[in-house]
């Protein structure tokens, strides 16, 4: 079953590649996405034991990532059918196949317990995303693809060196060399401190650049701005969580060793820096898709702050991981619709989206309110828990800065989003064939419903997984 869920999307990729008809090919996506979602549900209800060598196991942290990615991918797959219908002339063979390969790699990331295997899967997600960002085949998108490919490849290469350091620290400590997570965690305190320390730094820089922690986020605005909406949603909601999971694995080892406190301190500072960067660059952003990239930097920062705070904040941080990925899905899909309806993503031309595309405009507005932490949506709950946990720990500086940045970001984002959604439609803009249809509106609407639901009520099984996962990170289980 564990292998099936990884291999099955690959089968889908092969089928998508073989389907000759450009219009029918996109239907492969929802079929395999729904099957993947069903397999995820089956794995959650009856989780199999670890594979014989211990490389494959679905633990609570992996479950969280898997749930988020599977839901997000299914929604994006349904959306893709509607989206590709508007882009019939563009060849979509590579897009469909790469999406499914990426799903397979993301699944492998969430179930691998061997850091080497995890690294390979993570690198595979990076590579499969490159043709997706380049979907529009123009000069701007190629620049974005190049930047993304280079920075992420370098980042992930540095992470590999970090893993090598970690493996070598076991040799120096006269243990059997291994990159198996459970063994590393149980031996964490006995690893050679110098090598372990160097490993943590390299891993943080490596996975941090893939996550887009400031100041390693420079590829994000370009890639998110130029990629189609559904690819942006998967980048900001799916890939980010995969890289985050890799960082959480390192966090597990750090907490089990004597260096936990130092590691948390570093994460706290990096998280706050990311939020600060986002607050500065969010203001007066003239491209609303690029703005979303800074929002992604912000939320990665928020999650990192929660990891840095530790204890009670861990539960909230993990909850925010899910909330962020679902809300980012709505934002990018709605943005993609608006972009299509205006053939522009500059705030100069795009105004009054609520009239031209009422549903997408409303969804964009609602998701904006949600992502900036307005009640009753889910991100409010997790952000509130993080702040309150900062104050409970009497970490007033962190709590204060956190709230200040949130306020600044709200203002900055509102100054871009509100004119786009509410303003007057400019008289001189081109007509475009796009109008909201059920195919492109229903998927983000379903996601928005989930975001609202999680804000009001977290299902008991999810709550249990969150508590277990927080316990794995050394929080209050």
């Amino acid at each position: 079953m564990m292998w099936a869920i990884v291999l099955f999307p690959l089968l889908g990729a092969v089928i998508a590649w073989l389907v000759p008809d450009n219009r029918r090919r996109s239907f492969v996506l929802p079929v395999f996405a729904v099957a993947h979602l069903a397999m995820t549900a089956a794995l959650l209800t009856k989780t199999p034991a670890a594979s014989p060598a211990g490389w494959i196991l679905l633990d609570p942290l992996g479950k969280l990532t898997l749930i988020g990615n599977s839901i997000l991918f299914t929604v994006c797959a349904f959306y893709a059918v509607g989206y590709l219908n508007y882009r019939r002339r563009r060849q979509n063979r590579v897009l469909c196949a790469a999406l499914l390969v990426c799903l397979s790699a993301m699944t492998l990331v969430s179930i691998s317990q061997h850091l080497g295997l995890l690294w390979i899967a993570l690198e595979a997600t990076t590579l499969t995303m490159a043709p997706l960002i380049y979907f529009n085949h123009n000069a701007r998108s190629i620049e974005a693809t190049w930047k993304y490919l280079l920075i992420c490849s370098v980042g992930i290469a540095i992470a590999l060196l970090g893993l090598f350091f970690l493996a070598y620290s076991t040799i120096v400590a006269k243990q059997d060399v291994t990159l198996l997570l459970p063994t590393l965690i149980s031996n964490a305190a006995h690893l050679h401190p110098g090598w372990r320390h160097a490993a943590f730094i390299f891993l943080l820089v490596g996975f941090g650049s893939k996550m887009g922690l400031a100041p390693l986020h420079t590829w994000k605005p370009d890639a998110y701005g130029e990629a189609p909406g559904l690819v942006g949603a998967l980048l900001a909601g799916g890939l980010v969580n995969c890289a985050l999971l890799a960082l959480l694995r390192v966090y597990q080892i750090a907490v089990a060793s004597s260096e936990g406190a130092l590691f948390q301190q570093v994460l706290l500072v990096m998280g706050l820096i990311s939020m600060a960067f986002a607050a500065v660059f969010m203001a007066r952003q003239s491209d609303f898709k690029r703005m979303l990239a800074y929002s992604s930097v912000e939320h990665i920062g928020i999650i990192t702050v929660a990891l840095g705070l530790g204890k009670g904040a861990l539960f909230a941080g993990l909850l925010h991981m899910i909330n962020n990925s679902l809300t980012k899905g709505v934002l990018f899909l709605a943005c993609g619709n608006i972009h299509r309806a205006y053939n522009s993503k500059s705030t100069q031309h795009v105004r009054g989206a609520l009239r031209r595309t009422p549903w997408s405009g409303a969804l964009f507005l609602a998701a904006f309110l949600a992502i900036t932490g307005s009640p009753p949506f889910a991100p409010f709950v997790s952000e509130f828990l993080i702040v309150s946990s900062a104050f409970v720990q009497q970490n007033y500086w962190t709590g204060g800065l956190f709230l200040t940045f949130l306020a600044l970001i709200f203002i900055g984002m509102a100054s871009t989003v509100l004119p786009v959604v509410l303003g007057e439609i400019p008289a001189d803009i081109d007509r475009s064939p796009y109008r909201d249809t059920i195919h492109t509106v229903l998927p983000p609407l379903v996601l928005m419903g989930l975001v609202l639901m999680l804000g009001l009520w977290i299902p008991a099984p999810l709550q249990e997984i969150l508590h277990q996962a927080a316990g794995m990170l050394g929080g209050d289980a």
Partner: protein
Amino acid sequence: MNSLADQLLVLCLLLNFAVLGTSRLAFSVRAVALQGVILGVLPAIVHPFSWHLALIVVSIILAKGAVIPLLIIRAIKKAEIEREFEPFIGYIPSLVLGALFTSLAFIFAAKLPLSPEHEGLLVVPASIATLMCGFLVLMGRRKAISQVIGYLLMENGIFIFGLLLADAMPVMVEAGALLDLLVGVFVMGIVINHISREFSSIDTSRLSALREE
């Protein structure tokens, strides 16, 4: 045996400077390829023979010494670029910075102990220095192909370190890492191809647009 390995590692370090100091892309690619071959040979010198090791040696030499350089040479030919022009960091400053990074790498490595069986090997400083030189090429050059060469240099640096783990790592991980690298360079080659096509096709598309009016 270890002294031979050290000499090869010093050769790796010298090749870094060869890449840093030249503007000719084909020469850089050959230097990186030669470094790759040395990387493939090194595990065979340091570790006792095993089939696992033989597999690694062959696959590294094939990938780093043959397939990847061929991919890049092809990209160079297609893009019709022979030299790096006006790099952000000039060749002489690059060499000076490279020397600085190499000495820093030796200081850094002195702080980290090696396990007894690797005592006296220059692996750690060579690895970090190659990584840093690769980074320098990546940051300092303008052409996409030069940046790929920088990336490869970084990867070589990481593989030098992998030497210490050659008989300890599972084959699957090594193979996977190598495969990812191969695919990565392949994708980069395609993107470079598109870049050169995009920027020459801009002119032709403009011409046809004028004709329509």
